[in-house]
Amino acid sequence: MNIKEVARQAGVSVATVSRVLNHPELVQPETKTRVLSVMEALHYTPNWFARGLNLGKTRTIALLVSNIERGTDRDLFAGVETVALKKGYATFLCNTHGSAAAEADGLRMVQDRKADGVLLCAPLADLSGLHSAGIPCVSIGRPRDALTENCCYINCEEGAFRMTRHLLSLGHRRLVFLLDRSDPEDLRQVAAGCRRAVLEWGGGADGRVLLTENSIQGGFVAAERLLQSGPPPDALLCDSDELAFGVLKAARDRGVSIPEELGLACLTDSPLCTIVTPALTSLEQPARRLGMVAARMLFDLLENEEFSAGVPQEIILQPKLKIRRSCGNRAHISELFDE
């Protein structure tokens, strides 16, 4: 099936079909609808390779994440892909494991394969290579210093702060923060939010950070150690739901009741948090929406020249506190409304 047949059946010229594919905004809506329905009926798909050669575009974007096995990175990818597909773009994924070398490899591949744009999670490398190659880029993650490119991120610091303050407001004073050690930048943000809440609370509040591997097993081992070595803290705040599930198991094995003897919360909500008993208080991370925002910022750059010249934009998303039963909250109203 080729473009000539589509043009013939739709009663338009080949140039019009080509415009529908490449510059749909220039085509009358009725004509566009007719051409698209003929394409659909004929199962016509353009030859992407040939298009790439003609237009200097491959209609692909790249997403570099640090750990795709993590739920939030999966949601992020799903969000990016949702937007990319609607724009007729394919997304390829590079998993960097938080390593600068893997990130550099990924970026080389982006250039070699002529991706049209890049989304980068927590970039470690210098991005000047991308800039000089003229490849638009949006960074996902809080910028460490001045804003040099378009970026978007979830405000983890504020999320950790609000969750910690929630624990303190329920009467927990001695807190342990069980955090993922693999992502230094995330770790810095989260720890800063936890500390800020403890400092602002003042009298009697105390928080200690423990680092661990981000897995159920990591949570289990850390909780075992903690429960062996003396009286448990008032509450334990875990970086992820997986860590919290590990803690739940250790507590059950040792007969420590949650929330009566130990409050437990996590900073990454998942559907499982409502399934376990007690249901886990958690922070809902809008990772999917973050992926959609990042992709949209990138397509803004790809589609509108004036955006590339402008001041870098920053979009910040807020996580949402989901108050459930694992920290001692008994007010049902808190489960219904944001604080």
Binding site: P29, G79, K86, N155, P286, Q313, I315, L317, Q318
Partner: protein
């Protein structure tokens, strides 16, 4: 005669706008509003993510409507395609938006402006979902959101208010300083339809937006209060079903109105009917422009303390033979109405002039007078 009005710098062919809601959820439904003659259409509230729709979404009980749909179920990219197809003509398009942070809202406002929206409405107080009423009427929480959106676009930005926010001077001042060009009020109230006694469960799984004619008096009061606190142009919303009700809001100071629930219950022709009724009334009363009526009823609103009590009592000229009715007597806590063989009779010496029997008599037999 011309019905045209100006609202936040937008020229509207008349004051009737379609409110944000599922009746303006995509290109085709917006087109139906346009074709029925709306002066402007507010889209269903758009966020950065498509949102799932509950089934059932609507709860209905004897004229009371409760809605549990909060946001659009289309992605922004889909909205682009949908809006491209709409032939607006003279009708104006207002994009209703909401987001969880100021920067997110600013982005969304700019995107909607690029899609051709003539104005943006920030849906700050929707009564569904997890936003507490306290938060959405707190000036400090809202100021940054409004400012971010207003700075991001050149088109006017309006804010949709709850009753609480619409009657708070501090809130109105805050959004005005933040760059709001106008307001719409009131949003639906938070409601629960009822409780199933056998199941011991509410009749709906979550709070709903309670709308329709029963909230109209609240919206009228909000219009009167708001117009006296703030110079912001007002688009009134809340249970409007007829052209004459549109006029009531204009006379309390509104520049324009929004209709929603009536479309859900009657369909899109309600727009045409309301506009026809509005123009017919203006024609019949020799009114050249809605401007002549704006705020006309406000000066006669009086503080309760300043109203001089008048020695009014109810009068029933002849005994009422409709013995089976008894509404007058049932509602008379002063015992002024009694039943005699010849029918209901009223003893003016016992009457305290409350006015209920006169208002309630289905036959209009009772009159309040000196």
């Amino acid at each position: 005669m011309s019905c045209s009005v100006e609202f936040m710098g937008l020229s509207l062919k008349h004051p009737v706008i379609v409110a944000a809601g599922p009746w303006a959820r995509d290109g085709a439904s917006i087109q139906r509003c346009v074709d029925a003659g709306a002066a402007a259409v507010v889209t269903e509230t758009i966020t950065l993510e498509a949102n799932p729709v509950l089934r059932p979404r609507l709860y209905y009980d004897r004229g009371r409507l409760f809605n549990t749909k909060l946001y659009s179920d289309l992605h922004l990219e889909q909205w682009e395609g949908e809006l491209e197809q709409v032939r607006l003509g003279q009708c104006r398009l207002i994009a209703s938006i909401w987001a969880t942070s100021p920067s997110e809202l600013a982005y969304l406002a700019a995107r909607m402006e690029r899609m051709g929206a003539h104005a943006v409405e920030i849906s700050i107080s929707a009564p569904i979902g997890t936003r507490t009423p306290a938060r959405s009427s707190d000036p400090d929480q809202v100021r940054e959101f409004v400012r971010a959106a207003a700075l991001a676009v050149d088109v006017p930005v309006m804010v949709k208010l709850s009753y609480e926010a619409a009657s708070s001077p501090a809130f109105l001042q805050a959004i005005r300083e933040a760059g709001a060009a106008g307001v719409s009020a009131i949003d639906a109230l938070r409601g629960i339809q009822g409780v199933d006694l056998d199941a011991r469960r509410p009749r709906m799984p979550t709070y709903g937006g309670y709308s329709g004619p029963s909230i109209r008096p609240v919206a009228l009061a909000a219009a009167a209060i708001l117009k006296q606190y703030s110079p912001l142009p007002l688009c009134s919303v809340g249970g409007i079903e007829t052209g004459e009700q549109v006029l009531e809001f204009l006379m309390l100071g509104a520049q324009a109105v929004q209709v929603g629930t009536v479309l859900q219950l009657e369909g899109y022709p309600a727009i045409t009917r309301i506009v026809r009724e509005l123009t017919a009334w203006m024609d019949a009363h020799g009114i050249a422009s809605p401007e002549q009526l704006r705020g006309a009823a406000l000066p006669s609103l009086t503080p309760f303390e300043d109203i001089d009590p008048q020695p009014l009592t109810a009068h029933l000229e002849t005994p009422c033979p409709v013995t089976e009715c008894g509404l007058c007597s049932a509602g008379c806590i002063y015992g002024a109405l009694s039943r005699r063989p010849e029918g209901w009779v009223l003893d003016p010496r016992l009457c305290r002039g409350c006015g209920l029997c006169a208002a309630r008599c289905p036959e209009g037999r009772i009159r309040l007078g000196w």
